[in-house]
Amino acid sequence: MAKKDFLQLSGVDQATLTSLLDRASELKALMLKGNPPKDVLAGKTVVNMFFENSTRTRCSFEAAGKNLGAEVISMSTAGSSVQKGENLIDTAITLDKLLPSAIVIRHAVAGSAHMVASHVNASVINAGDGMHAHPTQALLDMYTMREIFGGLQGLTVAIIGDIKHSRVARSNIEGLATMGANVKVYGPATLMPKDMDKLCKVCSSIEEAFVGSDVVMGLRIQLERQQKGLFPSAGEYNKFYGINLERMRLANKGAVVMHPGPVNRGIELSHDVLDSPICVKDEQVTNGMVTRMALLEMLCKE
């Protein structure tokens, strides 16, 4: 029996992840044939609560719900940034009384999805909470890797960039560890959180990050962090931490480049990588939709 909510990947076992990924493959095959299974969640409602700007994740969840035949209600707060004083619990309870099967929440504060989950009857899916977790992104990343390499056991994944502020990195580290992959991270020391080495291997050079890797994942750099003095300039970032074809030669044969998007072109990923077939960022988008379909089905179907 699945749990009510999907808030983070720690605590989700290998069997659950495997069955989600397996089901996502079946759903992808249906979608590519133009046969969305509209009966799966017919008559059910999914509510999207987005308190932070998001195009791809919100659209992905909307498409996922609609492809399964669910009614999708999307709520996003104007201007995006969360105002203090806005009562999240009251808003969530109000939407819960519309009797949705699932509430999808994106919020700028870590732990918000947990808080909502403890106050509503609907299944809560965390679509990103602050720097904490983005479990469906990790799910689609793992799906993409599995599709390319046939499995995740023993795969080596390097995550490069702003580890400190990245919920994508944290969720991938949790999920990939469960699936038996090796994860290492690298980035500027100012963007590496304290005691990170207790969670996974922290590389001491950019070369170490690339050597032996099957997947190199870039993370979006928030350019305003430069103003806060966390790194000197976009150009310097690209020179010392950027993912380019020359560095990819250090990685394993057949290695791919992934990125959760949106990419700052020429900063995290150099133009040569973006134009190369080893960059699979666009394939990730379709995979995001089908893994979210598999998840909604698991949580909402009786």
């Binding site: 969360v82 203090k84 009562n87 999240l88 619990i89 919020h107 700028a108 504060v109 870590a110 732990g111 918000s112 947990h114 808080m115 909470d129 602050g130 720097m131 904490h132 977790a133 919920r167 944290r170 959180p193 304290k194 005691d195 990170m196 207790k198 969670l199």
Partner: protein
């Protein structure tokens, strides 16, 4: 009319204590006392001087939803405290003699614990211009602090320390470098990394402790460091004391009994400033108490409404409602665990803080002030914040099993608190 406490444990011996007025008049075997004298049958209970809290937030005036002087001083006596010193971050700020006087008057009406206001160092706690410290002292303020806000510039702190010297006023420093805190909401470490919450490094506290030590040393004056939470902060104070700097320091029960593990599950009850730290810090704070580096235990009792805490972690208020759990947590984690004697703990909670601030305190001797508390050291119970007398039910220690229950509190010879479970 008097009060006789029968058959209490006093430093390991059983004795009776006779009180007349606000003084103890006899200790020993007391069989004869006049009719009308109150009697407490204290079999199995231990008599201690009632505690003195040099760091309390009573919230009045301005934040009566969180606490009032009446509810806060009731909570104090329920926690075994006869005296509390209340911090000036009220609304309006306690930065003038009129608010000091108001608090004293309200406390007299409440008639529970003795309440001693602490005035602000700077007008409006803004760190810009000095508040009328001399006038506030004349009105009854016992110390000055911008608690909750650090005095941002070293120059302002230097001038305040220098000026306060002439009035023999204690300055209490809330040490926090706002730049290093940034947007942090919990201790920076493994847990903040795991939870994805922004961290507050130990250095944010330490650099200001170092600054206050340097200023006090330069001026040859004293300074008191509030709520020490870091291992490195304890070491800075230890070194300063060794070379003769007149620095004193307090820590709080939550730094003795808790770590940032309590934040797990985004528990806003465990959000406090300075934040709960790591086990190595907890151990260092305890070692600092044991070797005298940290002079005393204060509660930093910080009551909040349900709404203040029942929200996203980043937006939740800082603070723990702690005055009713202070003794049990300290007794359980310091005495019952074998780290120090009850006598030592009693000193940390009563005599030393009272002497640092310069206020009267209970002493179990003939002629001593009858501010006393009776505790059942063997009573084991589960902490339940919903039962607090304080309006603030906010505690991260709900469900903790502790030993040491306050049964009676006597202030100035009068019973001000009696536990519901005594006949």
């Amino acid at each position: 009319m008097g009060l006789c406490i029968k058959n209490a444990n006093i430093l390991g011996k059983k004795a009776d204590v006779l009180i007349e007025g606000d003084r103890i008049v006899a200790i020993g075997k007391i069989d004869e006392y006049i009719d009308g004298c109150g009697v407490i049958q204290a079999d199995g209970l231990t008599l201690l001087p009632a505690f003195v809290d040099m760091h309390t937030h009573l919230r009045e005036p301005g934040f009566e939803g969180k606490e009032t002087i009446a509810t806060g001083s009731m909570a104090a006596v329920a926690g075994g405290y006869a005296s509390v010193c209340c911090m000036p971050n009220t609304k309006p700020v306690t930065d003038n003699p009129y608010i000091v006087k108001y608090i004293i008057d309200r406390a007299k009406e409440a008639d529970k614990a003795r309440v001693y206001p602490i005035g602000a160092i700077s007008v409006g706690l803004k760190g810009e211009t000095m508040a009328e410290m001399g006038k506030m002292k004349s009105a009854g303020a016992v110390a000055m602090s911008d608690d909750g806000q650090p005095v941002t510039t070293a120059q302002m702190m230097r001038l305040a320390l220098e000026y306060a010297k002439d009035f023999n006023l204690l300055l209490i420093s809330h040490c926090e470098d706002k730049g290093l805190v940034g947007e942090g909401v919990m201790n920076e470490g493994y847990n903040s990394t795991r939870f994805g919450l922004k961290g507050i490094p130990s250095a944010a506290e330490d650099v200001m402790i170092a600054r206050e030590i340097i200023l006090a040393e330069m001026l040859g004056t004293r300074v008191h460091i509030a709520h020490v939470s870091t291992a490195s902060g304890v070491q800075l104070i230890r070194e300063a004391k060794a070379r003769g700097v007149k620095v004193t320091a307090e820590t709080c029960p939550h730094y003795i009994a808790g770590t940032d593990d309590l934040v797990a599950g985004y528990n806003t009850m465990a959000k406090v400033n300075p934040p709960l730290r790591e086990e190595k810090d907890r151990q260092a704070v305890i070692a600092g108490l044991a070797d005298g580096t940290i002079d005393c235990i204060a509660t930093d009792h910080a009551p909040h409404t349900k709404e203040d805490k029942n929200c996203e972690f980043n937006f939740a208020a800082n603070g723990i409602s702690g005055i009713e759990t202070a003794f049990a947590l300290c007794y359980t984690y310091l005495v019952d665990s074998g780290i120090m004697s009850l006598d030592k703990l009693s000193g940390l909670m009563t005599k030393t803080p009272a002497e640092i601030v310069g206020i009267p305190y209970g002493q179990i001797e003939v002629g001593g002030l009858a501010d006393l508390t009776l505790v059942d050291l063997d009573a084991k119970y589960t902490i339940d914040g919903s039962k607090f007398y304080s309006k603030g039910k906010n505690t991260p220690f709900d469900g903790f099993v502790v030993k040491g229950k306050v049964k009676y509190t006597v202030v100035g010879g009068k019973i001000k608190y009696q536990s519901e479970d005594v006949q």
